[in-house]
Structure formats: C-alpha cells, structure tokens
Symmetry: D2
Subunit: 293 residues, 4 copies
C-alpha cells in the first residue's frame, strides 16, 4: 500500500517497475513532450485528434477535415490500411489513400496520423504522415515496433485489445530503446465479457500509465465503445481522468461510412463536444490545445 | 446505428429492451428519484457516500464519520457483514456492528448504508440502516433480491463483478417487480485480464445504464480500482461520464484497516477530492449534493 | 518452476497455498472420498450425475429419471429453485418440486442432488435431497456456505462463473472449516470474451484443483458450453483431464424444456456418451461408477 | 437449438456462417487434409509436433530433436524469431537459427515448423522450414496473412490470445482466399481473469472449430497452460475433444531454457505422454501418426 502522508511523492511506484529501463517514470515531474508538427502532447494542453475511420475519397476527406479543423482538432486522423476482421470488408484505399492524406494535409494545414501495419510500407507512409499509428492488433508486432523505433517520426502506440498495462509499456520500451522517444500511448478499450459495448474502455489505464511512465497518454473513445452516442461521455471521462488527448472518429454521413459508421460522431456533435471539453479541461487545470498557442 | 439527426431523441434504444418491463427507460426524461432520508439520487445533485469499508469500533467510526460528513458526504457507508474470500479474514462485526451504525447515525446525523447478504438478517438491518446494499457477490442472489423487493427501504444494487449490463438490469427488475422502485444501481468494476487493478471500472456502464434505464447510477471507484491513489481520478471520470453519485472508502488509518486499507482514502485526501468534484460537477451542469438544499 | 526429476512428488505445490488450512493437499496421495448414499466420489470410479435442468412435472421426471438410470447415471440431478436472470423466466417448481424429488428418488432408487439458494430452505431441502448443490451464482454467498458447513449432507460446490481457482478453494474452506468435509468441487465454465459458447469450460481447472486440493472434482459440460452437441466432446475431455465425475443435463424433449433445452442431451445421445465414456475411463486407469460395485 | 433427431446431420450450423465463403464447412464430411512433407493433418491420424520453444544452439537442438523423434513426434518445432514481451528478453537466434533448423531437419529427417513475424523474412524462412507458423500475437496481422496466402507452404495459424472463434476463422479465410488452403488451426489458450494458468485453454474451441470449418485443428497445451505438469492432462483432454494434433514444448534442461522453461516437458515425460496418447487415440477411433504409415 502506498503511503498517503504529505511526503508521499509517488515514490513507491517510481522505479518500481524494474524490467523497464527507459519509459518508466523515475521522478514525479518527469514528462516526455511529443511533438507532431508543432502540436505538443504531454504538457498542459490536451490535444484532440479527429477524422474519419477510413479515408474514402476526396469529397469525404475535405468535408470531414475542414469540419474537425474548424471545431478545434489539431491533428487529422484517417486510415488507409485497415486491419479488418474479414477479407471481404473494405481494406482501405491502401497506397492511393496516402496521396489523399498529403493533399488534405496541405489544403487544410493540419498534421495527419495514419496506421501502418506492414513494415515494408513504413518508409512510404513516413513521406505522407506526420505521426505513425501502431494499431491495437499490431501492438505485439515486434518487427514493426523495431522499425518505428528507428524512424524520426512520432508514434501513436495503441494498447492491444487484450494487452496488459505491462505489455503496453514494454511495447513502448521496444520503440524507445531503438532511439525514438516520441511515443504517445493510447488506451482504446480492452476485450471483456461485456457485449453491449464493442470493447470496455479501461479508464483506470490513464492514471496508471501516467504514474508508471513519462510518455503522454491519450484515449480513443470511438473504438473504446463502438457507439457514437457514448463518445462524448467517454471523452469527458478521459479528460477528467487525466488524459493528455483524445482521438475521435468523425464522419459527415455515418450511415454511408465504409467502416465504423456506428461509432463516428457527426461533425455538429463533435463541435458540441469540443465546446464542452474546453470548460471541462479548465476545471482540470488543463486546456484544449488550440492553434493560437 | 442510432440516428444522429436533430430529431433523434434516443428513440432507438427507448423501449428497445423488451424483456425488461419496469426498469427500462420509456421516454427520454423519465427518471426515478431515490430518496434516502431526504437525500435524493437521480436529480441534478450528485450524492457522495463515504466511510470505512468495515466498521471496526466506535473510535474509528467516530473519526471517519465526522470527517466525511465535514467534507460533504451525505450518506455514511460501513460494512458489518463482510463477504470475504477467506474464512480466516475479518468477517465484520456482524450484528454488533449494527448498533454502532445506529449510534453514529444518531450522533452525526448522516443516513447510513450497509450490506446485507443473508435474507434472515434483513429485518434486523432495516432497523438500523437507511439504505440496504446488495453487494457485487450477491447481485445474482435471487432470494435476497426478492426480499429487498418487499421492503420499503431504498436499495443500493451493485453490479456483479462479472455481470453483464443485462444481468444488472434484470436484477433490478426482480426488486422493482415486487414493489420497491427505490433502487440505485452501482458500477464497481468488472473482472478482466488486467491485474494491476483489482477490477476494471467499466466507465461506459454509466452512460449505458442511464440510457437503458431510469434508475440512478452511482460508481464505486474504491473497489473499482483497489488503489487509493486512483480513486480521485476515477471519481472525476465517473462524474464526467454522468454518474449520479459516488461511494468512496475513507479510513483515517489505512495501514491498520481490517479490510481494504489499500483502496481507502485518507480523510484529507477525501476532502481535497470533494473540493475538486464541486468544480467539476458545475461544469457538467450538476452540483454536489449538500445539506443546505 | 516445478522440478521434473524422478524425485518430484509435486512437493513444490503441496502446502504451497498457505492461506488454506484444510482443503489444500498436503501429501501426494491425500484424497477425500465423498459419499452420496453409497456412491463414492474421489476414488477410481468416475461418477456421472444426470437429469433435467429443472424438474417440470411427474411425467418429465419419470421419463428422464428412468432413462438416465438405465444409461448408468448414479445420481439424479433436478433443479427446483432456479437462479434465472429474468424474473419473468420459469423460477422452478419451488417447494412443490421437492416432493417430486422425493418421489422419484424412492421410485427409481437413485440419490438426488438439487440446488439451494436460500439458507432458509436448507433444512427443508435436506429432507428430500441426498446432496446439496451450491450453484455458480452463490459460490460467494458466505451465509449459505456457512450453513452447508454445518449440515451432514455432501455438498456439490460449483465454481462461480468468474471465480478464480483461489476463490473456489476458499469457498470450500468455508464449508470444511465448519465441519463438513464432504465437498465435491465442480468446474462449470467461466465467463470470457468468447460468445459462441455460453461459458468457456476451463479444462485446466481439473488438474489444477486436483493438485492443489484433496477434494473430488467434477465437470458440468452442459452449462460449460451451452450447446448439447458439445457435451459429449467436453465430457470426454473432462475425463481425459482427470475429472472424478460429470454432471450432465438430459431432457427427453429439449425443444419444450422450461429451462436450458439447448444444452440438454436427448436420452439416446446420453446413452451413447455413457458407452463411449466407459472405454475412455478404462484407458485413463479409471472406471465409470456402476451400481454393481 | 439444433435438432437432435436421427436426421440431424449438423445441418443447422453447416453454411451457417455466411460471411465466410471458403473455410466454413458445407457438408458433414468435408475435411481438408494438410500435408507437411508427407505428414497428414486432418485424417484419422493425430499428429504430434514437439521441440523447444526457442532454438538455442546445436547441442540443444540435437538432443531435443532426437529425443522427440524417438518418442514419435512427426514434426519438429523450434522458434528462431521470438515475439517477446520485453525487448530485453532473448529474441531468438534470428536468421542464424534458420541454418540450425535446416541442419537438424537434414540430420534427423523430421520436417520443421517455425514462426514468422516479419513478411520480409517469409521468403528466407520458406527455404528452411516445412511449415510456417503465424503466432498468436500476429493472427490479426493482415499483411502477414496476405503473404502466407500466396506461398505454397502449409501454415500453422494460431488463435490470437483474445481472438474470438469468428476472428480466427476469418484470419484463415484471408489465407485461403489468396490460394493457400493448407492451413492448420491451433487453439493455444485465451486470456481470461484466471491467473494460475498463463492462459485458459479453450477446450470447446476444438469441437466448435471442427463443426464450423473443414480445416484441421490442433492444440498447444504448453502455451495454453504455462505449466509443464499440466501438459499431459491437457494433451489428453485435447485428443478426447477431437483434436487433430498437438504442438508440445520439450526441453532437455528446462531450468536453463532461454524461453518458457516452465512449460516445457522433459524428454522422458514427453515419452510417457506419447505412450499414453496412443491408447487414448485408439479409444477415440483415431491413431497417433507414426512414420510407419
């Protein structure tokens, strides 16, 4: 049991995870700041990433990209290589999607994050994206971790859907050990017996990861629930639990989305959420990151 | 997928759970208010219940009872019959503890909630307690549910540690069906593969239960994590996710607690949390329940 | 890691579970024999319990009772108090069912096992049943455990659907501590993320429980899968894994069963299974218990 | 509920999984035979694969390879690229290990199976191995699935540790869709709340996969439990549940194994197990595959 007296500066857990050497927090104030084209994760600002699950076409990307930017998202998300359960589901636009990513990035001026699954695609993706996502299904993919450890792009490392906190921290250690300390951790829901939600968002992972580790921690409430109407509630919970950011799926026409429409917010609902989050962040002694910084 | 257009008043889920007849929400604004000696669950106010895991003796109860009252708790918790894993662990003060409950209730003027496991004890407990708790290990105990359905005391029904949302709602239906609609639901963490936390607090259960059902929903961040230092973070997350209340373990000497010391907050940390929650509740359009109402 | 050399007599685990005092195995050959009206659990013989999920009426009980007896079942199962998720589901015949139990017991000469959920019913049930079942939903029900610890009837203690092996052993310890060492443990499936099966039968629980504890261990493949066609496969797996018995749901008209028809075997399929099990038991150095002993 | 009458030829589940097109069973007798250098999976014979978790050096490989061959293993397992949780753990001999694989293969005349994690290594590994393993942590790795779908080597596809049966079948569909129908499925334990075992072996996956799909199904009792002394029990259970094979870790000096020593059988214990399995297979109407076929 940790001591709760005034001199308790978390020392019981600090260094308390000996097999980790690099990503574990050694002092109370140690904090890595991860920078994505000037957007900073890990400081006072809470960064919101938003965009479609998958990039579908220019019109879709333009509509969603502009709306999330106007609502205050600092980074645009958009999948081009999609890890789908069924080979008969839409697999993403693949390489062609990357060109759309570069296009929208230049048009609206937001940095972009996209997932890489295949180490052979990493170099190509790095030419188009500002941040590389390792998805939940690849958190244990050590060849991929070893590759992103050697690049000089920030990495968004999502927790495996059945990965323990230990395993997530060790996956980050793989990357940092090879020289890339620009890693943002992401809680995105774990697999449990409950079936109403797609996954069970592990809200306690946020304070836990922040106590054990000095890397920024963000939350994906879209995959973490599978229901658009839960996303605002879970986003607020994440900020209240100390998250350094959010990654939210937004779609202007969810019913026609090629992937995950059911968990995508309409732009107007995302706008409302951003307004709510601003007030909430302030109470938490934080602020929602804006371009005016 | 639910529609997200302006006319979407949650109609897709309303009545959408046909096997339930009583506890399921039928209209958007339907909301049961549960009253415990004047303290109301389910309205704008967020009710905080606090106190020791187990009642140990008069001095302990006096110290903790007064401190949580002064910090703003509206109801005092305190276990006298403890469902312990091992028969060699402290099982609570049993019947003797009830007298202490009555004593502290009169002394400090807070209503009290305590757990009943044995239907044969229900009548006795009802003479001493203002609210009857059905614990996680007894959520499926249908004889007990049937008994509390016939009393005229409010019930705090905790989710079984591996109960689905369906099962929790059906457990409430057992109680309400017999005529007692004064039921408060409580999310307290579910059993998952993660071992850092004692249980995984299912934060999504809050918006889900509130959407499916018209009963108030509160959260137990103490059992939901097993770590005192997580309790403030999870408490804030719960309020941000829409919880109608919290039940928090507080102990003035956690190292010597006979039960669950590791997850009990010191009184001064509880005081700080209450202050923080007030500001947070306001941002959420709620307020922390106070005796000045 | 346990030593695997020729002198390794499981000593590493023996006594290796210090919080347990009574049910933990202290020597390799220690083994409790539990007797139910002459039928012995825990020896060379493998005991098969069979019968309907719920007792519905005289005709049903007569048909199923005779058929399972003729196929070689040594004990008849039949629920009268049913722990149903929904209060609108059939709750069993309650007290009336007990009379049917006594009747069939006398008619066909098989001892009977039935579940008790309410400690107030225990005395009454003991007048009609030869073995008292504590069901999965009541494994943590300590008042009930304390009651059956004080009776002189053998107890069938089912593992809670989300109980760890520790917790099951401690539940047994509650009973044995009070003087009743006639306890048979039952693995009946645990709750996991998999949804094709109703529960996930934890086959490893069998060798594990037998190594840690000296009580007999049986398996419920009916609840453990939820699918009748899996029952023969899982029954064989259980015997191959060292189980001391099986408890199998059989119904002569599953489509009309008031409870759990989908997981109940037709009598002819149960007959085939019994034949198959005889050969399998022999290979395992065991035999299926018969009345000719 | 499936019908259990004499005309019930599993028709209710056949074709009952519409999103699958290729790997789902369409008729009762449909069965894919997978051949690995003459060793056949999916027929009457039960194939045992055995060997060390990791290849460590020539002496180790020689000792273990010969002993498992002499005990009746038909295929040698040996990892060279190891997916370890920690980057500080032994990662396998990498490319150098492949040469040892080729060497032992030629020396003792057993075909070999080894895991590939990186699609860039697939071509190289195909030059040394007779069967390509996709490990549990890469079951969702679609780029890798797509690569092995295009080779002409049999694939051992292990279930992800938190993959549903659906997801495993879809992973197989990815491979078969691209033209490689030589896929053997492997149940290796799933992640649950139980901590005594490393994973929970899902024994019901065996009859379920065999009913839904026409590919052979084998079981890994070593990873499925994490304890060497459970391996014989779980191996027998797997055969009794209808498995077409086993993959078992064997080490001649488990205490010094660089990986997973705690779950590796000593050669003499493996020998005993093989003897036991022969008798068991016969009772099940099967036989343990031998080189005399």
């Amino acid at each position: 049991m940790l001591k709760q007296d005034p001199t308790d500066h978390q020392e019981n857990l600090l260094n308390g995870y000996p097999p980790l050497k690099l990503v574990n927090r050694k002092t109370e104030n140690e904090q890595t700041i991860v920078q994505v084209a000037g957007v900073k994760f890990g400081g006072v600002d809470i960064v919101v990433i938003a965009g479609p699950c998958s990039i579908e076409n220019k019109e879709q990307l333009w509509a969603i990209g502009n709306s999330v930017k106007n609502s205050g998202a600092r980074i645009l998300r958009g999948g081009v290589y999609k890890p789908r359960t069924s080979p008969y589901s839409f697999q993403g636009l693949q390489d062609d999607g990357l060109k759309l990513l570069s296009w929208i990035r230049n048009e609206i001026g937001l940095p972009v994050v996209t997932e890489v699954m295949d180490p052979r695609k990493l170099e190509l993706v790095c030419q188009h994206a500002d941040m590389i996502q390792i998805g939940s299904r690849n958190m244990h993919n050590t060849p991929l971790l070893n590759e992103v450890g050697q690049i000089r792009k920030p990495v968004l490392l999502k927790r495996g859907m059945s990965a323990t906190i230990d395993e997530l921290l060790f996956a980050a250690e793989y990357i940092v050990k090879l020289g890339n300390n620009q890693v943002v951790l992401c809680e995105r829901g774990i697999r449990t017996f409950e079936t109403f939600t797609r996954f069970t968002l592990d809200i306690s992972a946020i304070p836990l990861l922040k106590r054990l580790c000095h890397l920024p921690v963000i939350v994906d409430p879209s995959h973490g629930s599978g229901h658009w109407w839960m996303v605002p509630w879970l986003s607020k919970a994440a900020v209240a639990a100390g998250a350094d950011g959010l990654i939210i799926e937004v779609h202007h026409d969810p019913a026609k989305a090629l992937c995950d429409g059911g968990q995508s917010l309409l732009p107007e609902k995302f706008q409302t959420l951003m307004t709510d989050l601003k007030a909430l962040a302030q109470v938490m002694g934080r602020k929602i990151s804006t371009s005016e910084n």
